[in-house]
Symmetry: C2
Subunit: 399 residues, 2 copies
């Protein structure tokens, strides 16, 4: 790893101070892969500097996971070690913070395995509790750590320096004052969300090659951006980078077809050219040129996995999009362009009691559907059509 110690510390500091916004006395969980150790170590140091009471690191290992998927009994594939679930329960009881490190060190490590088993291999209880935590119970952030293997997947060569440059630019570490740059950026995104919220649109429409999709919204739908807030009032930036305005749609009102515009890395498999047809909100056909079986099994995880939990708008001015790089990592690729997510919805995105309104699932899987060729309109209940994106340029003035 050629990254400078200074960059690593600055990144870790941004992660802890602006991202998770770790509070004095908090328990902090860090979830990462073994290959992410250099960034993890900097994050742990910064978390203690910010006053964390205890920082607990759980390192995952994809090679261990691969061996499990190859050998374990069918029912073990979705089993969650109770102690790992207990760790998340403890975080909830304690009011702690989580830092998750993204950036799969080998994005196609599972590509040659039985897609049905790969798709089933998801620790259910753990996934369920993880989604709960992201719903106002913990202050959390996802950031990514470049590795040689990830760089190989992105550039065709293990040019980790180049990947660090791209990541550093995407998260504004190239600014003289990254923390100030983030506060300014958050303000811009929040203004854009406010403009959408004032209009209370009835639905969105995406039109482009292979895509003609309607996504229904509730009258109570609240667009959000960048800044999340825990139930206890801790503001945090859950994704770094983040360039999106997002909302939880009416899960019953998705109609039409959509073609993904970027590959989707999901559990060590890359799903390319994903196409989904929705009827009455539900994904009824799923196809792809690679990873189709993994994706179909994934969509069959539970009933809610067939429905949308999120729709998000990103324009071509995105720092991630401007790198021109396909990252094979959702944290980045979803911030390069518009996307939708199958699965769990976002309670905070509903003005009122979200239960039974926004979607419910043990998955939340974003995939990218935007780009210069995709026009996005918002339509009011009265039928007025308001252009939101044309040629990747944002059309609605911020208020």
């Amino acid at each position: 790893m050629a990254v400078s110690a200074d960059l690593l510390e600055a990144y870790a500091r941004l992660t802890v101070r602006v991202g998770a916004n770790v509070q004095p006395g908090q328990l902090v969980l860090v979830n990462a892969q073994v290959e992410h150790a250099p960034l993890v170590r900097a994050v742990v140091r910064q978390a203690y500097e910010a006053g964390a009471r205890y920082v607990d690191v759980a390192y995952g290992d994809q090679h261990a996971r691969r061996a499990m998927i190859e050998h374990a009994d069918e029912e073990v594939l979705s089993w969650s070690p109770p102690w790992a679930v207990e760790r998340l329960h403890a975080l909830e009881a304690d009011g702690g913070a989580i830092v998750s490190i993204s950036g799969n060190p080998e994005p196609e490590i599972l590509a040659d395995l039985d897609g049905r088993r790969v798709g089933k291999a998801r620790p259910r209880e753990l996934a369920k509790q993880s989604l709960r935590l992201s719903d106002g119970i913990a202050n959390w952030v996802i950031v990514a750590c470049p590795t040689a293997g990830w760089a190989q997947a992105v550039f065709g060569e293990p040019d980790v320096d180049r990947l660090w440059d791209a990541v550093a630019s995407a998260v504004r570490l190239d600014e003289p004052d990254p923390v100030a740059a983030w506060h300014e950026h958050i303000g811009r995104l929040e203004a854009r969300a406010s403009a959408l919220n004032e209009r209370r649109f009835d639905h969105l429409r995406f039109r482009g090659p292979g895509t003609d999709l309607t996504v229904g919204l509730f009258p109570q739908t609240l667009w959000q951006a960048a800044l999340d807030e825990t139930r206890s009032g801790i503001k945090h930036v859950a994704n770094m980078p983040t360039e999106e305005i997002f909302a939880s749609p009416d899960p019953a009102r998705t109609e039409g077809v959509v073609r993904s515009t970027r590959p989707l890395e999901i559990t060590g498999t890359v799903v390319r050219d994903l196409e989904i047809r929705f009827e009455g909100g539900r994904a009824v056909e799923v196809d792809a040129s690679t990873g189709a079986e993994v994706m179909r099994v994934h969509v069959d995880t539970d009933e809610g996995a067939h429905l949308l939990g999120e729709v998000a708008l990103v324009d071509g001015g995105s720092r991630v999009g401007r790198t021109g790089i396909v990252f094979f990592d959702t944290l980045f690729d979803e911030n390069a362009t518009c996307h939708i997510a199958l699965g769990e919805g976002i309670s905070a995105s509903y003005a009122g009691d979200a239960a039974g309104k926004v979607n419910s699932s043990t998955i939340h899987t974003d995939f990218m559907i935007g780009g210069p060729e995709v026009e996005v309109d918002a339509v009011t209940a009265e039928g007025e059509v308001v252009p939101l994106l044309r040629d990747d340029v944002w059309q609605l003035p911020a208020r």
Copy 2:
């Protein structure tokens, strides 16, 4: 890591089949440092091949631990994450197996920190439950994984190939059939233990430069070697390498002075030239040229930490000793020469109910006291003196 994939798989296979002796359907826990990932991955594969139901890897990170010791509140130093304790409880309930990977990737990573805090930094509950597991509740093994940092400490240069050669030789991976070689080796050690058990000695005496130590034995003391057995009857080799004949002495009858003959690596600190004076079984003076404070605080962990839990005999024919290398790792250094351990005793080493007889503590810390200059005698209740080791050569014929 230059080690060949074949050697890694052979080592992992030996670890799983002969060491832990993993049984079909068992839960297997692997504990390691992040730097040990290459060996861990091979062990996980081999464990599944042996029929493990699920293999759970917990990677530790000494840099995270260092940050904790530097920054955390005093009471956090000995705190155990409840989920980590729960993991060990689950193993006990489940009748599972454990593989622990030794070989500190940076043996002096904590050497510059406040020795008092380093000595105190021990998760008590976790340590307690770990010692329980080693007492017949799980089939377990400790093996070591060479790393550049460990090689640096051993050789003064990061010659990891040379360290792999030494480790491979110590664990008999250089034999045409390592598994057969181990069965033969176990037989030799067991015969030596039997010869000692037939004599029922009253105490041992160690005499050498800086050492004049008496270690009392119970009439019920059982010498053991190599092969451990769980309460459910699974035979396993808990240490690889193992070259020792060991027993739990009468903790009240240690008298005299002892000077360590090899450095002791303990929690990221190297304790050199350790000297301890015992009175009525109890360590009453502890000194060292490096790491003295860490060691003193460690010995103050609890009352039992002042008393002996083990005495072990190793002759100069040991494969580990013959490498001529100081490993700065107890798994190896204790198998190069005679040693004693402060802290928790070994129940299986007492014929009868060991409770209240063998020592009890939340530590078990071996240190090396043998070598060519140290004479070891065994003395019967009648006062007959029987030489056990002279010039590192074993004197008592095996039966």
